[in-house]
Symmetry: C2
Amino acid sequence: MRERPKIKDIAERAGVSVATVSRALSDSALVTAETRQRILDLARELNYRPNVSARSLRTRRSMSVLLVVRDVGNPFYLDILKGVEATAREAGYSVLMGNTESDPARETEYFNMLRDGHADGMILMTGKLPPAGGWSHLPVVVALEMIEGAGLPHVQVDNIGAAREAVEHLISIGHRRIAHISGPLPELMSLHRREGYREAMRNAGLDVPESYEVRGNYLLESGQECCRKLFTLPEPPTALFVANDEMAYGAAYELRRMGHDVPGDVSVVGFDDLYLSKAFYPPLTTVSQPRAEIGHVAMELLLKILSGAEIDCDEPIILPTVLHIRGSTAPPRQ
Amino acid sequence: MRERPKIKDIAERAGVSVATVSRALSDSALVTAETRQRILDLARELNYRPNVSARSLRTRRSMSVLLVVRDVGNPFYLDILKGVEATAREAGYSVLMGNTESDPARETEYFNMLRDGHADGMILMTGKLPPAGGWSHLPVVVALEMIEGAGLPHVQVDNIGAAREAVEHLISIGHRRIAHISGPLPELMSLHRREGYREAMRNAGLDVPESYEVRGNYLLESGQECCRKLFTLPEPPTALFVANDEMAYGAAYELRRMGHDVPGDVSVVGFDDLYLSKAFYPPLTTVSQPRAEIGHVAMELLLKILSGAEIDCDEPIILPTVLHIRGSTAPPRQ
DNA sequence: ATGAAAGCGCTAACAC
DNA sequence: GTGTTAGCGCTTTCAT
């Protein structure tokens, strides 16, 4: 047998033309059941697999989509990837993972992969469009993050509302001096979570001294660092609303190092509900995003676009969050 | 301008043949510097990108490799992926992530992707070959896990030695009743880590009652569950050597739930050094694997194979581990 | 229902 | 150094 059987090999053995084989393989109605069966059997016997390059070249579809994140090293993206992958597989698409590390060159590169036929569409989770421009009308869905004025469809959560709810919880159990460790600014997601914090404080008639808002970068070490800053203040907070779980881990760790009990002395609330947060000590109170669902919905949307449907890009799709109240929050000491 | 410029478009404008354009674009020496420059300028101006399908079809190389893991949801793989990706990019390869979920059908499918031209080579981290067989001589590198008798090159760590060292640490600080929560059996990696545990115990003249070896599945909940089993024994252990960090988190969590202090009452050692382990409470004593380096070395090896070099498959490449002693281990109570 | 043939965009012989 | 040409393996008209 040849190295890799091709349609021609099957055709010769079956005594039919390549066209017929192609039709049989793609379940066309234009083949008699009997011929089709013979061809299918032969294909199985030869262990035939269609060459993807040839097929893509001809059909002009790669049957794969690009999932672009800013850091594959972040476990947060994993469940989203799973959601995307499951949905993609079902529709016969494979998923290519793209990692930008916030490098504009790489951001552009992944967009170029849409043009060179590497992928048919893209789910973008970097919150940025590449600098060059000219990326409208492309089959791109923005998930998780937001890109304003891009005219692209969005799948996200209500970051403002979710943050507000988290801070309201702290207020409801008696906290007044609540500080916020934010993500990098002026990114929209960070801004929104901070806005939710501010709204909750304002609604409760609570002051937010400028020193109570510290800017982090979503990484664990940054949580530690921001926490240290807050606890050198003359009047340190009794509770922290931290913009993601990873920094919340860092903050809780640093608090313990400084001799503060969590939640005895200081309450901590995170955002994301990483899968370790429930095993963390103390189990972290945090906002849970429907990550797999975000991936699923984003992929569904992309499939729709790829099938030629018109999509309304004005209204983002908003998925619900849940505040999980665990052991890291408690009423302040009297 | 055409929808997507192709070589022909450039050729027409440059007043040369497609062959010349192709040569100029691939930096062939058979073009005058002047012609090349003209073509390059034109290509840039038209924003030309070669069609990957056409190129792959012709060259019979996809310039991408497959990285197959059993669970993309496991953060453990992320650093490996980063190592693989960086090395692959440099050589002009893209990386496709494959996720098997331990499903034999999917395991086979990824191997098939090598045959249908989707990828040129594969880094396999599932520890299994698909059932069908016939996968020798394929450009495959096994990383992290081991597959015996497959005739494939391996990149891994010395699991036996690393486990032994971890348990020796527990023994050296005075523990005698040391239990082991293993990974799924009879997988080679689990077996090796257990073997290291047994060796350390044997060398110290310590008994391992059968009930002190509990089988887990590397997931957090499994760590909890195994821990519960161990602490219903008439003589529970004073220390645990757990086959990975995730189960160690679960075990530590469960110990606290049951009212045991870590490390006051029970010491816990993990394996993997996930990035959260240092912020865990108490900071986890654990074996660190050079994950990015594993990815890097595996990809280098794969590149060598793809370039046609002969590889010695008899001797695995062994990378060093480091035992990080942190707060989760302490001498037993007197 | 089946076959012949064109061609997707590119590269690599082979000519000159 | 450049052009001509023949495919890579597949799908899809257009005939029959």
